[in-house]
Structures are given as C-alpha cells and as structure tokens.
Point group: C2
Chain length 462, copies 2
Amino acid sequence: MFSPSTYRSRREHLKQEVGSGLVLLMGNKQVGMNFPHNWYTFRQDSTFLYYTGLNQPGMTLLIDLDEGTETLYGTDPTIDDIVWTGPVPSLDELAASAGIGQAREASALDTTLKNTPLERVHLLPTYRDEHRISLLKWFGLNPGEISKHHSDSLIRTIVEQRLVKTDEEAKQMDEAAAISADMHLEAMRVVRPGMYEYELMSRVHATALEQNGDIAYPIILTVNGQILHNHYYGNRIGDEDVVLVDAGAQTSMGYAGDLTRTFPAGTAFTPRQRDLYNIVLHSFESAVFRTKPGVLFRDLHYLACEKLVEGLKELKLMQGDPAEAVRAGAHTLFFQAGLGHMMGLDVHDMENLGEDVVGYPGDLQRDTRFGFKSLRLARKLEPGHVVTVEPGLYFIPTLIGLWKEEKKLKEFICYDELEKWTDAGGYRVEDDFIVTGQGYRLLGKPVPKTVEEIETVRREHL
Amino acid sequence: MFSPSTYRSRREHLKQEVGSGLVLLMGNKQVGMNFPHNWYTFRQDSTFLYYTGLNQPGMTLLIDLDEGTETLYGTDPTIDDIVWTGPVPSLDELAASAGIGQAREASALDTTLKNTPLERVHLLPTYRDEHRISLLKWFGLNPGEISKHHSDSLIRTIVEQRLVKTDEEAKQMDEAAAISADMHLEAMRVVRPGMYEYELMSRVHATALEQNGDIAYPIILTVNGQILHNHYYGNRIGDEDVVLVDAGAQTSMGYAGDLTRTFPAGTAFTPRQRDLYNIVLHSFESAVFRTKPGVLFRDLHYLACEKLVEGLKELKLMQGDPAEAVRAGAHTLFFQAGLGHMMGLDVHDMENLGEDVVGYPGDLQRDTRFGFKSLRLARKLEPGHVVTVEPGLYFIPTLIGLWKEEKKLKEFICYDELEKWTDAGGYRVEDDFIVTGQGYRLLGKPVPKTVEEIETVRREHL
C-alpha cells in the first residue's frame, strides 16, 4: 500500500468537499462460492481501498464530518485465527497503516449506526448483497429503497477525486498495463491451430498470477470475436481463425489493466482478415493521436466511428458520407460498443458509483440509441485521466439479419455485398493511455499491433 | 451435463422422500467483484446443479409436491442479449435438457411465492446474501430468522441422496482427481529454489484451466505448511524449504478434487524433513488401508492420530501410550485438523447444508475439544461415499508457546526436545478415495508419494 499520509490526505480532501454528516465506506466481505467458507478470491471495494489501502475483508470506515473523527471497524484475530491463518496484523495496526485515528470492534458499529438517523449518513450505491443486508440491519432500509438514499455529494466528490491519477497511481497503472502486455504477448506467441480456447486462456491467466497479479476482469478469449461478452472457451482454434483476446491484470494493490489484441492462429492474416484488422487499427490510431486535455472523449468516439465507415466503404460494405452515416448510427451494425472508458482501481472505473456521473458530467447527455448508448465515456479529458481506446468491427449474423429484413439505413449499408461477409467475425485493438499535460502516454509497454509486427511474432514462435 | 433422465430420477426420489409442500431450490446468481457487471467466475449452487444439471445463473426450481409439478424459473434471452453474448438456449430448452416439465419467467415466481404461506415451503440454509434478499422479498423473512425455517426433511433427504455417488458421478470424480493430480505433478516438477510462491501457484492454477476445469477451492501453496488456511503467496522459496501444495480441480460439471503433497524445493528432503514426512505418510497409509464399508471414519481418524503419535515418539517429541495420548488430545499440538471429509460437487460436500448432518448422523456426537472439533466426518462409510484422507503434522510456534507455558499434557509432550523443532513447518499428504463394496479405490491417478518417488521427480526435473 501507499504511505499512511497518502490515504490521510485523500480523506482530508473528501471531508472538506462533503462537509457534514457521516460518511459510511463499507469494505467488501468474503463471498462463498458454493458453501460459506469456500471463498472466491477476495476483492476489496475500490472506494474503500482508495481511502484506506486496506485489503482485508470485513471492515468499515466511518467518518464523522461533524466531530472530525475517523473510525475503522473490524475484527481482531483470535488465538484460533492465529492457529489457522498464522500471525496477522491487529485492527490497531491496520488503522495505523492507513493513518486512521481509531479502531473498534465491528459490533460497536452496529450499536452506533442503529442509533443514527439515516438522514445523517452519506450512502454509496451498493453492488454486493452483503452491503444491502448490512443496511437492512443498521437502518431497517429495504434493498429496494437504498437508491433513494444515495449521497450525490459523496458520489460526485469521490468520482472527481478518483478520476485524476497521481504519479504514484500512474506507476501502478503502468505496472497493471505491463503485466497485461505480457499476458497478450504470451497468447500471441503460444497460440497454435488445434488448441482449445481454454488451453490458451490458461496461459493468459497464469501470466497475471505469476507476476503476483490477478485478472482484473473475466478473460475474453475467442475465435468468435463478434460475440462481445464471450466467456465461453470451449472452441477448437482453426488454421484460419483469428483469436480475439481481451484481458487485463490487476496489481496486488488493485489497479487494473485492459488490453485487446486480435491475431491469426497461423502465421498470417488472410487478405480479408488483414483488411478488416487494418480498418480497426487505423480507427484506433486516429483516436489515439487526438487524445489530449480538453477533448471530449465522445468526439474521439465519433472520429473513430467515421474512420471505421471510411474503411468499410473501401470494402464496399458501406456507402455515403461517413459523418452522416455515423450521425444516423449506420456504423452500429458493425461497431455496437463504445470507444473506451475510464480506468483505475476498477477496469470500468467507478462504474458502481454511476456510469453517467463518471462519463457524462454536467450538461453532457447520453445518446440512448442502439450502439451510442454503449459509450460509457463522453467527458472532457483532463491530465491524469486514464482511458482505454478500443474500436472494433463485429459481424453479428443475428443483427445483420434483423437490419437486412427491414432494410435499415440502406442508404449507408450495402446489404448485397454484406451477404458475403456475415461470417467475418470480430476484431478489436485496445490499449490504455494516461492523459498528460500536452497529450497522452501509453501505459505499460507496447504490444505488437501492426499486421507486420503481429505476423513476425507468429512466424518466430510457430 | 448428464441425460435428462438422470435429473428426473433424482428429483423423483426427492419427491417421494419429502412428501408434501413446496421444494424451493435456488440457483446462484452472478456476484460482482468490484462493480455490478464485473463478475466472479460463475459457480452454480451444488444442490441446484445436482437436481437440474443447469449451470446458468439466475434460475430457480420450484417443485410442488402436492400438485406434482416442477417449474423452472429464469429469464429468456432478449435480442440485446443475443447481440452481446451470442446465441444462448431458451428457458424452455434449458428446462427440457433437465427433464423439467415447464418453464416460466422469473417475475412469475415473485407472484407465486408472495401468495404462498412460508409454512408450506421447504427451505435450505443460505450461504449467499443474494438468497437471503430473495427470501426477504418473497416472504418478508428477515435474514436472522431464516434458520428457523430450514426444512430438516429436505436437508436430510438431499444429504443422504448426494452422499452416495453413482457410477456416472464417480467418473466425474475421477476426472476431477486426475486433473488435480496433474496440478500436483506440475508443481513437483517445476518448483525451483528462488521462485516466489505465486509463480509456482500460477502453474498449478493454469493446469486446472488448461483442461477446461477450474480450481475447486483457493489454492494453498506455501513454504509455511503449518499455517493451515494459508492463501498468501508472497514468500520466496528457499533451497532447503519444503513446499506444501493443497489444490484441487473442479470439472466443467462442478465435481471436485482435493489433493495435497509436500515436497522439497531442492532434490531431496533433509533428514528431519524426511522423518516428519514419513510419519505423515505412514499415518496416511494406515488409515487408507482400513477404509471400507461399515467403518466409522472417526475411527480412521483416531488410528491416523495414533500413528502420528507413534512416529513422534520415535523422534522423542512425544511419550507415553499412543492411544491414551490421542484420547487426551495430546496429538492436537501437532495435528489440529480432521483426517478428512466427504467430497462431491463440493470439496467439503454439502457443508452448506450442515456439517453435522453430513458428518455426524444419528447418535454420533461431535467432540467439541480443540482439534477433535475440526473433524468434519465421523460417519460410517458406505459404498459410493467419496472421502479425502489427509493427516498432517503442523508445528505452530504460537500454539507450542501457549501449551508450553501451561505445561499442557506434559505426560505426553516432550517440551524440552520440542524446543529444537518449533520451526519444523508443516507436512500433509492427501488423496481422494471412493468406498467400494469391499474396500476403496483411489480416484484419478497416483501422484508420487513416497520419499523416493518424490525425490526421483525432483532429480529428473531440477
């Protein structure tokens, strides 16, 4: 973890901004997979981690803004615990490492909160049912009623603070991206036609673990890149397949990386694969090169979409004016997703606090049309923001069938030609960038990205 | 999954045994790690899996014993789902694959249950907060009150049914144990002094994934084998360390393996390590050779403990009559755990339904003394039971210090000699067995276990 002063100064900022009342930050608990003590790998709540650095389960931080006190609630190890788990730090030691003034047994929190009017408490949105049950116990608050009690001031303060990464955080993001880069290098080197997807996936996952990291999100590794949320790994990889890998590591401190590469299982892309890949790559580079403070990420999204349309026009899959096509949403037949998102302790940073608070502040309005609505981030970029850039082309037979039936946007889509391309699959390229004073910097280290670079890796390792 | 008739006949048995009322079997949902859609790897509830074979999240099976109907509740994929996740089976198709007569949207379940008196419903113990929240929604049942409404008849029926593995289940258990064996072979081959524990752990984990399995429980891999629940992997492995690995795979159908090996990081055990290892191995073999139908597993535990005492006497760490020492609990200074447990779809099979229902049926009473209380399984063995056998020796400095201070059981413990052994670490050997008509059968395949076998592997691979 960082030094106690880092966490103390983060909390000082929070206190000044929120002003009065009680700030309740609930750490995560262990979750049983199939019985109470068979736990998933523990993942701390990122906001709790940001303000305390403490990566142990079952703790709560209560900040009384009016009294000016901070109290860490948790459970001290018993002698039984020490027999079974070895020596572990005491609650006082944990509090001290986070610069927190006092620590108390969790049972004392029950008493305190049961005597506190809910109106005094700043609550965050819940995403774990364990927290919903705690709120029921403390305040008699029904799960369905929690959202009425979210604290907008607390949410906004946290989002604005966590969005801008300090130098020590940027180093963590570099580490996460570098491990993520190794995961992709490993996949690109060891893939062989005839392998099952799960075999290749095991190497990608192990690469994160062997550097004392873990996966930041479920790995996507598939010969069907057009299936966007694909966590099935049962296909056999064919000679002429491309493999799409979307995988990222989290560091032991919890910071995330998020990269995507699409590469051939053999030594070379087929001509069609190369054409599609290069369209995506050109779109990616166009957006990256325009990344700098003051730019609306939404505009980068539009730019990337236009570049996709330009490329698809050359393949005779689209026609008409690219900007008009994008305004009409014609590109969403091939690119249904957003260009990217914020990153930090969460791979979609602070998504649990509200996508729009993070991505659409102030007057920015989310476009609710198909495709557009999937853009998580529209916000004006500032130095210290960390974003992904990840355009793609996805040929989804069901979607193509639906559009074709109603001849949707036929002024832009060449349905006759498209018939030959419905099995063209999916392509995506994704890197992580931090916005600097003048522009941007790639996090981690470069992973082969051009057709030539990728084919060189494949030839050298097959 | 197995054939629909397998699940249908399992449910028929359940219905006959339980008789009347409504049986509510809640499948598991996805759990967000750090925001709602960043999910842990999905793990289905094992009871739901046993009676349906369905491995998809968010489903519930309701069996009306009085009407004789079975209804699967879930959510049909929308066109949006199909765009993002590819083609998935419909709810009707899922029900058919499990031999379930009808399927309905989950919202219909809310209506049904809100109009059902709780007394009619057979409830199982909950271990996920998601289920506690469902029970609150359906019946207004407070989380703290759920245990009063557990259905003893349903619990007992399920336990007795799931305890006895059919031939098709035994094949799954063999597969799980075989993948687990490969995990241990990999660790035993690739360990090198100077490695970090997490580097070796990554290879063990990957071995499960690359065979389309996953880990059945968090891997224990440590140079501090005396720390029984150790999920820290940050130590560097030294030249003269032994590494204790307790790891098992689950198959894609959810059946678990659970093996432990302890082996040197170099090419050979030191003389002291060999002595301790051989004591554990002899204890292991003594218990295994006596495994057969009709034997109380508790008696195997006592036998294994006596063998440990006999070995420790030879090292002058204990004295007196071994049987008396075990009755007095003197062995628990070195072996604080139980000899083994039931296995199946859960690595501790059905632990969520109640350890005592599984391990201490009828008149068997759990001994609540330190050490003894950790024996999960006392039950008389029957053909089809699957058990682990896993004796160990654990030198826990804190515990030794406490006992020494009060000279506890000094008639059996040689505290003066013990002073030289407090840093002796931890040793365990564990395999999985199915009880047969006459005796037992090792599940999976043998993993090197004698000192000679292990040292041969180390020499060949270092």
